[in-house]
């Protein structure tokens, strides 16, 4: 069951005369399963915010369609089951945290009977209880972000869009937000995460998609994207022989970094064991073996560079 289904969406922003039209999304399709944390990645201007705006009905697609929680995005009532934390959001600064949450709760159709309890619970969750009656104009950026997260959860949504949720939050706060997201996931909430902080996305997301100039470059689970080609770093206690002269290693991408260290790319565990056997045969004493995974950041940079090179 998919929480989000995007079918061939194209969004063109028509420009005034003498200016070029901007294609923010180009025939973009994507699915997000229910209950997963999905990370959307892309450089500035990739079309990430436009995609969220389209899904939430802020702008309309030029062509294509999308469903949220099995309902078309044109059905505005579906938004009562959705939470949203916009990037660089602001709330009316003359309201308190409590008033803000009440305002958004009422617009979302939250049952009034237990609203006060719900507000207290959420403010406690984002560690904002003591600021409940303070006007927003006195809040720091981190506090605004915590309140934003609370308002995104006020209607107990089945699907939450979070645009840069840890922006302006200190490392401890980030950890707390990550814990909240994992807790939400465990309760069955689908989370659509848009962040520039790739390591954050990597830490919490089940699946990610990389977007550039309105096109989907790669999509898959974090594990799939970061372990397609594994690099092992092998450290030895004795001096290595000339590795490049060993004929059994000729078909491997191998780098001898110094007399005691080499790195080698292998496809699977069998190949790794074969390499170890060959090293032992040449009387190499293995001290440590470390797997060097591709980080999401490396993959991201590599994909974006490739897509630019193809243009």
């Amino acid at each position: 069951m998919n929480a989000i289904e995007i079918n061939q969406i194209t969004k063109v922003f028509r420009a005034n005369r003498n200016k070029l039209d901007i294609t923010a999304l180009n025939d973009f399709s994507l699915s997000v399963s229910k209950g997963e944390i999905f990370g959307l990645l892309g450089p500035n201007g990739a079309g990430k915010t436009t995609l969220i705006k389209i899904l939430l009905g802020v702008v309309y697609p030029t062509t294509g369609s999308a469903n949220l929680l099995s309902e078309p995005i044109t059905n505005y009532k579906i938004k009562s089951r959705i939470g949203f934390l916009p990037e660089n959001h602001k709330f009316p600064n003359y309201l308190t945290a409590e008033q803000t949450l009440k305002y958004f709760a009422k617009l979302s159709g939250v049952n009034h009977s237990n609203l006060n309890e719900r507000i207290d619970e959420l403010l406690a969750l984002v560690k904002m209880s003591e600021w409940k009656k303070t006007k927003i104009k006195k809040y720091s950026k981190g506090m605004m972000q915590r309140l934003g997260l609370a308002q995104a959860m006020i209607n107990e949504p089945e699907l939450i869009f979070l645009d840069e949720p840890t922006d302006g939050v200190d490392p401890i706060g980030r950890k707390e937000i990550r814990d909240i997201l994992i807790d939400l996931k465990e309760r069955g909430t689908t989370i659509f995460l848009n962040s520039h902080l790739l390591s954050e996305v990597e830490m919490v997301s089940d699946r990610v998609a990389i977007l550039n100039k309105g096109k989907l470059l790669k999509e898959g689970s974090v594990k799939e994207l970061t372990t397609s080609e594994e690099i092992y770093e092998i450290e030895t206690s004795n001096v290595l022989p000339n590795i490049y002269s060993i004929p059994e290693f000729s078909s491997y991408k191998i780098t001898q970094e110094n007399d005691h260290k080499l790195s080698i790319n292998v496809g699977d565990d069998d190949e790794l064991n074969f390499v170890i056997d060959q090293l032992r045969k040449h009387r190499v004493n293995i001290k440590t073996i470390n797997v060097q995974k591709n980080s999401l950041e490396e993959l991201f940079v590599s994909l974006i560079k490739d897509s630019r090179g193809k243009e």
């Binding site: 705006k53 939430l56 009905g57 802020v58 702008v59 309309y60 505005y76 009532k77 579906i78 938004k79 009562s80 959705i82 949203f84 916009p86 660089n88 959001h89 602001k90 709330f91 009316p92 958004f104 617009l107 979302s108 159709g109």
Partner: protein, 440 residues
């Protein structure tokens, strides 16, 4: 000096790039100068004519001549006929119908030349003037134009009237003796033949006398005694403060437009702040967002106008309670039209500064053209037509009707209908634009 020049250059670039500042600095004054120039004729433009009902009940030659002269006046336009709706025919105004029309505010004044305007035996010229001084300037111009027209055509009639008056008081025989004695005295003093003086004072009143002669202005005060100018104020005579009553409606709608447009354009501020985006992601329709803004603006506009009118009552003793219900109706519908104007500006503009610039320009122009500042009759004819395409015109007229004339609801139905239509059209257009999503 170099630093000053660089900073000057930076300010110049900023100014040139600020389209709103350019608009307000050059276009607004230019447009207002054009309007003022046309109103006061400074640009060679001609002022529009004031419409005045004219009823000629006299069959005398003199009455016909007065009518001809008034017809060719540059200041007033005589309206002699009216349409009967039931039969869709046009007929001459009667004195009663003229009074009814002036009372209803359809025309500012009516001139009636009665049966006894100037008979063969009259010792005075009698003119009836019914008027509604809904605007002081308009009223003065109309009355002045009529009096001037009549006075300047009397160089030959007043000796005859003098002779008739002398004959009336002294009897024909003694009157003629008096005329002969006076002619002799004038003859002695001014060395003019006595026969020519007697011939001048016994002239009959004919069209050629009227048309070929003129009098100088110094004779007007003297002639004034020979004319019975019977003025009857039909409307507003009982008002405690006519001056403030006249202008309060015009200023009310102008301030309403300014304040309510700024609330409507605050949607742009919400867009900049990001609160609008969040709102759009809630389970509410764009129409609901727009209507919440509309409702708030309307409420504020109504309160603002109520305070303004209460203030004018407390400070200037303006009567707002005699026709209070109708005043409230005009306030509500005017507020609705003003908010709609703000909505359409918001729907069309691409930024807050653009919205404010366009709104300021249009509000000032509409206020000037629509009658908030000057009576529209002062405008050239073409501008009077343009005025009817502004919502200020219909609002100002409606306020005048209920406050100045204490008019019934039926008298302002057209005004209210037009304002309602403006509101509906503007709002529907704004909703369509909002739902198309272009401003977001």
């Amino acid at each position: 000096m170099k630093n000053i020049f660089e900073m000057f250059k930076k300010d110049l670039i900023r100014f040139v790039n600020d389209k709103t500042a350019l608009l307000l600095t050059f276009l607004v004054p230019a447009v207002l100068i054009i309007i003022f120039g046309n109103i006061f004729g400074g640009n060679g433009g001609s002022r529009g004519k004031a419409n005045v009902i004219f009823v000629n009940k006299s069959n005398t030659e003199a009455a016909k001549i007065i009518e001809e002269k008034l017809d060719s006046s540059k200041s007033i336009r005589l309206i002699k006929k009216y349409r009967i709706d039931e039969t869709d025919s046009v007929t001459d105004f009667t004195e009663e119908k003229a009074i009814e029309y002036v009372k209803a505010g359809k025309y500012a004044a009516a001139v009636v030349l009665p049966n006894d305007f100037l008979s063969d035996t009259s010792v005075t010229m009698s003119i009836k003037y019914y008027y509604d001084p809904r605007n002081e300037i308009e009223s003065s111009i109309i009355q002045g134009s009529i009096q001037r027209t009549v006075f300047t055509q009397l160089p030959q009639i007043f000796p005859s009237l003098l002779t008739r008056q002398a004959n009336k008081f002294l009897g024909t025989e003694e009157g003629e003796g008096f005329r002969s004695d006076m002619a002799e005295i004038v003859s002695d003093y001014f060395d003019v033949p006595k026969d020519s003086i007697l011939s001048f004072t016994s002239k009959e009143i004919t069209s050629s006398n009227f048309l070929n002669e003129s009098t100088d202005t110094s004779s007007e005060s003297f002639i004034d005694n020979l004319i019975k100018f019977d003025s009857v104020q039909l409307v507003g005579a009982d008002l405690k403060n006519p001056q403030v009553t006249r202008i309060v409606g015009g200023w009310a709608i102008m301030f309403l437009l300014f304040s309510l447009t700024s609330i409507a354009t605050s949607l742009f501020e919400e867009k900049q702040e990001g609160t609008l985006k969040r709102l759009l992601c809630m389970p509410v329709t764009r129409t609901e967002i727009l209507f919440s803004k509309y409702l708030f603006s309307m409420s504020l506009g109504i309160v603002q106008l109520m305070v303004l009118f209460l203030f004018s009552w407390v400070i200037f003793d303006v009567d707002i309670f005699t026709n209070f219900l109708n005043l409230v109706i005009v306030i509500i519908i005017s507020a609705s039209a003003a908010v709609s104007f703000g909505m359409i500006i918001t729907a069309h503009a691409k930024s807050l500064s653009q919205a404010n610039g366009i709104a300021t320009l249009l509000i000032l122009v509409m206020s000037a053209v629509g009658g908030s500042w000057f009576p529209t009759f002062l405008f050239p004819d073409w501008l009077q037509v343009v005025a009817k395409f502004t919502l200020t015109y219909w609002s100002v007229e409606a306020f005048q009707q209920v406050m100045w004339r204490q008019a019934e609801l039926s008298a302002i139905t057209l005004h209210l209908l037009i304002l309602i239509v403006i509101s509906i059209v503007f709002n529907v257009y704004a909703i369509i634009r909002f739902n198309k999503g272009r401003i977001f």
